[in-house]
């Protein structure tokens, strides 16, 4: 089963995401800051990264995503954000930010599972 790394500074969000995804059989590793996140991803080589937009700084999630891409880590990135199209913010996936999809907080378990499954399916096709 696929390994997913979750990077978020909110322990509750990490716990919720971990429980939901573990219940679907995924292996999970977590980090609560960008530096540890980068290290874990490099070491474990997961199939998907879940990344919070805002950790210590309002945009360090974006920078971390860019850092992954610069270091040739091309696996899908799912970004957690608390702003969304609903309030008029539109991040075009892949345009400005090198991520593949967004999940708006609060996290709906069904939506999370659906997006994770989609991204992993796409990734499987791509790497074939």
């Amino acid at each position: 089963m696929a390994l997913i790394v979750i990077i978020d500074d909110d322990p509750d969000i990490i716990e919720v995401s971990t429980l939901v995804l573990k219940s679907k059989g995924y292996d999970i590793a977590t980090a609560n800051n960008p530096e540890d996140g980068f290290e874990i991803v490099n070491k474990l080589k997961p199939q998907l990264i879940i990344l919070d937009v805002m950790m210590d700084e309002p945009d360090d999630g974006f920078f971390l995503a860019q850092k992954f891409r610069r270091n040739k880590i091309d696996i899908p990135i799912l970004m957690y954000t608390s702003v969304s199209k609903a309030i008029g913010f539109e991040y075009g996936a892949g345009e400005m930010v090198p991520v593949d999809d967004f999940v708006e907080k609060p996290i709906s378990p069904e939506q999370l599972v659906e997006k994770v499954e989609n991204l992993l399916k796409k990734e499987k096709k791509r790497s074939k």
């Binding site: 909110d10 509750d12 969000i13 716990e15 919720v16 429980l19 939901v20 219940s23 805002m54 309002p58 608390s82 702003v83 199209k85 609903a86 309030i87 008029g88 913010f89 539109e90 907080k105 609060p106 996290i107 709906s108 378990p109 069904e110």
Partner: protein
């Protein structure tokens, strides 16, 4: 390329709009001048008994014709001239016009008598205009050149190298001037020119300074407003984070990811979840307003309102179905012209109104949405037989955080921010929103509400959109 543009004006649209508008104004004025010149030639011969000789008639006609010809050329070129300070721009066009006009005027003065020409006063007029539109150094230079050229012409006329083309009929006898008169005339002319330029230039630069100060103040106000809104967004965001985490945790339990939950606990958790959602709605509303205020300019495009309405209804379909509310959309328009606006913002406004319908219309109620056109406006009416708005509250519904007295009793979720956002968006599009209650389909029990929105079909080729384009390469 000579840099005619002050540094502060590089990115200042208002500056360029003014320059371009002035250019257009000069062009119009020049048409009038050319026609007046021809009329002067024809009418003054009959009315004032002035006599022009053959050379004068030819020369004045040619000058009028050239005036007309180069004016048409400038008229055609004007819209294509850039507002890029580093390239040939609207300012250079102003300079070229000034040089051409002064040349034409000098020739005209020569062919109407040089020192005896009544037309020379127009030099003064040109100095005033030049001081208003051209940088100081340039207009002083031009002023100097005009004084030298005119004096030279007078001198050459005086020593009989240039022929005198004075207008017969203006004088009883051929005018003769001794050297003292000529010197006096030239000195007075030079003094008048220089004083005019100094005065006009000082007034103009004072105006520019004031404008600069005003602009700085406006920028500062804008900065403060932006900082304030960013601060609000930051704070609200901080509040949103824990609430979002709470809701995520509750979801986890309610959806049985951890294990079975007793019905009683689940019911309480669902209520807790509901309250979280209420808080999140409020937070999202505040974030929306902050964003609206942060927006200095919005992206405008063609928007078909009917599509937005249908999309918003579709999004609330579940809520409407749950209360068995009948929603009907009637489009009375023949041509379905789009409006020119920000699609996301307009959708936000319409979706807010439709969401209100789902909240405040009772079970088995009706919602009717009518779209029609009136001249330059598109009109949207949203009519329902819902709870309505009490008469004493109706003026306040568009105020921030205002919730009508009857909905507070009902405990319907809502922050009282929705309609103020709607109004802000409609205002942003130069539109108007009104509300009436009771509505035409209401009844005694549920009087209903009628929202009327007017949005103009904005013309895309107005002066503003024509001139305000981003500067190339900046």
């Amino acid at each position: 390329m000579i840099l005619l543009v002050p540094k502060w004006a590089y990115n200042y649209d208002e500056f360029w709009i003014t320059i371009r508008r002035r250019n257009l104004w000069f062009i119009k004025l020049r048409y009038v001048a050319a026609v007046t010149l021809i009329l002067f030639l024809i009418i003054s011969q009959y009315l004032l008994n002035l006599e022009f000789d053959h050379v004068q008639v030819q020369a004045i006609s040619i000058i009028a014709l050239s005036l007309f010809t180069y004016n048409i050329t400038i008229h055609i070129v004007r819209p294509k001239v850039s507002i890029n300070p580093d390239k040939f721009n609207a300012m250079h066009l102003s300079l070229i016009q000034m040089v051409l006009d002064l040349t034409a005027l000098l020739l005209l003065v020569y062919y109407t008598g040089t020192i005896d020409s009544p037309i020379y006063v127009f030099f003064i007029f040109h100095m005033v205009i030049g001081s208003l539109i051209l940088p100081g150094v340039l207009i002083y230079t031009i002023c100097g050149i005009v004084i030298v050229m005119y004096s030279l012409f007078i001198f050459l006329q005086q020593v009989d190298i240039f022929r005198s083309h004075y207008i017969a009929g203006l004088y009883d006898q051929i005018p003769q001037h001794n050297l003292n008169y000529v010197i006096m005339f030239v000195l007075m002319f030079a003094a008048m020119m220089i004083v005019t330029v100094i005065l006009a230039n000082r007034i103009a630069s004072n105006l520019l300074k004031r404008e600069g100060e005003l602009r700085e103040t406006l920028d500062k106000i804008q900065e403060i407003e932006t900082a304030k809104q960013k601060y609000i967004m930051g704070v609200v965001h901080e509040i949103k984070t824990p609430i979002a985490a709470v809701k995520s945790l509750i979801d986890l339990i309610v959806q049985k990811f951890i294990g079975p939950v007793s019905a009683e606990v689940e019911e309480k958790l669902l209520r807790a979840k509901g309250r979280c959602e209420e808080a999140l709605d409020l937070i999202n509303d505040v974030l929306r307003i902050s964003r609206l205020k942060l927006l200095q300019s919005t992206e405008k495009q063609r928007v078909f309102l009917i599509d937005l309405i249908n999309q918003a209804i579709l999004e609330r379909q579940e809520a409407f179905n749950a209360k068995n509310i009948e929603v009907e959309v009637i489009d009375y328009r023949e041509k379905k012209k789009p409006v020119f606006g920000d699609k996301d913002l307009l959708y936000l406004a319409i979706s807010n109104l439709i969401s209100n319908e789902a909240k405040y219309v009772n079970e088995n109620g009706h919602v009717k949405i009518e779209i029609s056109e009136h001249k330059e406006l598109v009109c949207i009416k949203i009519i329902d037989d819902g709870i309505g708005i009490p008469w004493k509250d109706i003026d306040k519904v568009f105020e921030q955080f205002y919730r009508a007295s009857n909905i507070k009793k009902q405990k319907t979720e809502g922050s009282g921010l929705g309609l103020s956002i709607v109004k802000e968006i409609i205002d942003h599009h130069d539109g108007e929103i009104k509300v009436e209650s009771p509505s035409p389909i209401g009844n005694a029990e549920s009087p209903g509400t009628l929202f009327i929105i007017h949005i103009p079909f904005m013309k895309e080729d107005t002066e503003k959109t024509e001139t305000v384009t981003l500067l190339d390469g900046l």
